[in-house]
């Protein structure tokens, strides 16, 4: 017997985790890109 509740949970949490982690990564890339630029300008 398949536990469809678990299957839906895996799907929603899985796809959510993929998109959210990559979205946070995008934000992080933009953030450290700016920080690096600022520090390079200062030096």
């Amino acid at each position: 017997m398949i536990d469809w509740n678990l299957a839906v949970k895996i799907f929603s949490f899985g796809l959510g985790a993929v998109f959210s982690s990559l979205a946070i990564l995008i934000a992080a890339i933009y953030a450290f890109g700016k920080i690096v630029k600022v520090t390079e300008k200062k030096s």
Binding site: L15, V18, S21, L22, L25, F32, G33
Partner: protein, 368 residues
């Protein structure tokens, strides 16, 4: 005399063994003559051949040589993370850092993983088996193997071979889907040249990524940590010896062990089952949907961004690095020879690897 004959393998041969020999010869033939993933298909094919020789006991638990490779290499989760160490040392995240929004395409291309997951459930597979089948859609061999060893080790041979087969068939599977889902005008979209990425950014990337991904999905840590360590070796520039070793000698050694261990799981009794055919069918479904989702997401993003994305790079969101990116380049150049999409496609391509590892981590955490 009869006793002597009985000690040979010849009299113990089964039809199943002979069929597996044919499969082994086919793999070796495809690898040598067609160049289909030869680094994997040669050892896998050879592994299949020798494990289907009666009385050799190469996969005999606790004793067989190949069992030891399989047990200590795969079951102990040593080989896939080491492969990721090498991949990290070979990967340039520069194109992705230069255009971070392409990361979303890598995420979109994981959609096929879940289509195949549900497809496998409908076909009657249990949840852990469906996870192992779904992850084939990520087109990432080591991640597929890692997930399957965790969740459905009895399907290892089928999922690993399906993943590597479809990876090698990227140039055949993807172009029809790309043509179907894009217009000629879209295929000709030219993307702005990528900005140069500083060394500091490249060094910071693996450190930030390992923190972000492993905090969100801790179960992905073994693969992600090694992937980013390999990349840090490459980018920091002070451990060239380690970087070279990870990318070359170590990678080659673990590839041999991985290939022969996977091949060794494909004994006739384990492999010649109807469910293996379903694994291959669902793997193809996963792959096709991942390709389509990447393309459609790129088209969707074009509705909002002023700077248009060529949807052909969306298909590179499946991990198969760098083959999928090359397919995008070839396809784009076919419609406009002056359109260079390769570097743009490398962004979603390497993002796809990260996305697949995250998807695998969730599978292992929830279904393991």
């Amino acid at each position: 005399m009869l006793d002597m004959v009985m000690t040979t393998g010849v009299v113990h041969l089964t039809i199943g063994n002979l069929i597996m020999w044919l499969i082994a010869f086919l793999f070796i033939y495809l690898a040598i003559t067609k160049n289909y993933e030869p680094l994997l298909l040669v050892p896998i094919g050879f592994g299949i051949l020798v494990v289907n020789l009666p009385l050799t006991f190469l996969m005999h638990e606790g004793e067989g040589l190949l069992w030891k490779f399989y047990h200590y290499g795969l079951e102990w989760e040593v080989i896939p993370p080491l492969i990721f160490l090498g991949l990290g040392a070979l990967t340039d995240f520069g194109p992705m850092i230069a255009n971070p929004k392409t990361l979303i395409l890598g995420a979109g291309a994981q959609f096929g993983v879940y289509v195949a997951f549900f497809g496998a459930l409908i076909l009657g597979f249990q949840i852990p088996e469906a996870c192992s089948i779904g992850i084939i859609g990520g087109a990432d061999g080591p991640t597929t193997i890692y997930t399957t060893v965790h969740l459905a080790p009895h399907l290892l041979g089928a999922t690993a071979v399906a993943a590597y087969s479809y990876m090698s068939l990227v140039p055949i599977i993807q172009p029809p889907i790309m043509r179907l889902l894009t217009t000629e005008k879209e295929r000709k979209i030219k993307m702005r040249q990528l900005r140069p990425v500083s060394k500091k950014e490249k060094i910071l990337f693996p450190l930030v990524t390992v923190l972000v991904i492993c905090l969100i999905v801790p179960a992905s840590a073994p693969l992600m940590a090694m992937f980013m360590l390999g990349n840090l070796f490459k980018e920091c520039g002070v451990v060239k010896r380690l970087s070279d070793t990870a990318a070359n000698e170590l990678m080659n050694i673990v590839t041999i062990l991985l290939g022969i261990s996977v091949g060794a799981t494909m004994s006739a009794e384990a492999f010649l089952k109807p469910q293996v055919i379903f694994v291959f069918i669902m793997g193809l479904v996963a792959f096709a949907f991942s390709t389509a989702a990447g393309i459609l997401l790129a088209k969707f993003m074009n509705l909002f961004f002023k700077e248009k994305i060529n949807p052909l790079i969306g298909s590179a969101g499946v991990s198969a690095v760098p083959m999928a990116a090359r397919v995008s380049q070839i396809m784009g150049a076919k419609y406009d020879p002056k359109n260079f999409l390769l570097m743009h496609a490398m962004g979603p391509n390497v993002a796809g690897v990260i996305g697949t590892v995250v998807a695998a981590g969730v599978f292992i955490a929830l279904a393991g």
